[in-house]
């Protein structure tokens, strides 16, 4: 599957970001899902302004630092060391060094967002690994099973973003993890997180 065909926005911890697998300089995957765009929440650890680009290092208390690039220098005027930020960007690798080309960055103003981000990282990891692993009974029951779509916060025709817990776990009665999954979904579906 071409990396560009799968539009995923994956919330990741920096530990996860550092452990993604790659088969080239622009093809990354984690938990069996191609990585297109990543969402990171962390503290600004270092900032530098250069002529052609600005860079900042972000720490989420999990990994030490992660180098990021932002091509609009003026953005950095409003950011300070130690400030929590949320950023979205594309994961890149050049000569073995990984970085994120950031296209969206904003300060965190409600610190519940930090807890929400890490909880979402857990949920997405769980969704992508459990749904892809599946259960033995489900795999053998259907000869031509529909391929599982990776978790994505961007709606697609095949897998529209669901705000309710309706059919996200079709195999719930055989799934010992169902109670935990349902608790996580209920938490993320609270109005303050939508």
């Amino acid at each position: 599957m071409n990396n560009r065909d799968v539009r995923t926005l994956l919330p990741l911890t920096l530990k996860q970001l550092n452990s993604v697998s790659t088969n080239g300089e622009s093809n990354f995957s984690i938990d069996g899902v191609d990585i297109n765009t990543v969402a990171i929440v962390g503290r600004v650890a270092r900032m530098e302004n250069r002529i052609t680009q600005a860079a900042l290092n972000v720490s989420d208390g999990v990994m030490n630092v992660k180098k990021l690039k932002k091509w609009k220098q003026s953005v950095y005027i409003c950011y300070r060391l130690g400030m929590y930020v949320r950023l979205h960007g594309h994961l890149k690798s050049f000569q073995g060094k990984r970085s994120v080309n950031v296209f969206s960055i904003r300060p965190v103003t409600d610190f519940n967002e930090i807890v929400h981000h890490f909880t979402e990282c857990i949920y997405v990891h769980m969704y992508n690994t459990k749904s892809r692993g599946g259960s033995v009974t489900q795999a053998t029951a259907t000869a031509t099973a529909r391929p599982q779509m990776p978790y994505s916060t961007m709606p697609t025709p095949a897998n529209p973003y669901q705000t309710g817990p309706s059919n996200q776990f079709p195999n719930q009665f055989n799934d010992p993890m169902h109670g935990v999954k349902q608790a996580v979904i209920n938490y993320l579906n609270q109005p303050m997180h939508l």
Binding site: T13, K15, Q16, R43, A45, N57, S59, G61, V62, M63, N64, V65, L81, G82, Y84, D110, F111, N112, V115, H116, F118, T119, C121, I122, H125, M126, Y187
Partner: protein, 106 residues
């Protein structure tokens, strides 16, 4: 800002397990004096946070530092988390981040 080592999410119950290591937690400020703050963790354990805190402190404060014992932290970084922070959610995150999903964090 010291970013040389990762910090584990902890609540009161987890703090004792990580003595000597870098931790991060959120406490509800109960009292403060010069050089230390008394706070209540998200699982209602009273702990002491040593270090020079920012002034003024909001109701909830994130502390990153070294766990000294099961009820004290030597803080390196303080961040005011405001007055509307939800401690229950953070508490549940601590359990998950130190349990089944520890591999995503440490």
């Amino acid at each position: 800002m010291d970013t040389s080592s990762p910090s584990a999410f902890v609540n009161g119950a987890l703090l004792g397990r990580l003595a000597g290591r870098k931790v991060r937690t959120v406490v509800q400020v109960i009292g403060s004096e010069i050089g230390s703050v008394v706070g209540k963790t998200t699982d209602d354990v009273q702990i002491f946070v040593r270090g020079s805190s920012p002034a003024p402190l909001t109701t909830y404060v994130e502390v990153i530092g070294i766990a000294e014992s099961d009820n004290s932290i030597r803080a390196e970084t303080w961040t005011n988390f405001g007055n509307t922070f939800d401690p229950q959610n953070f508490n549940e995150l601590c359990k998950l981040a130190n349990g089944e999903f520890k591999h995503l964090f440490m």
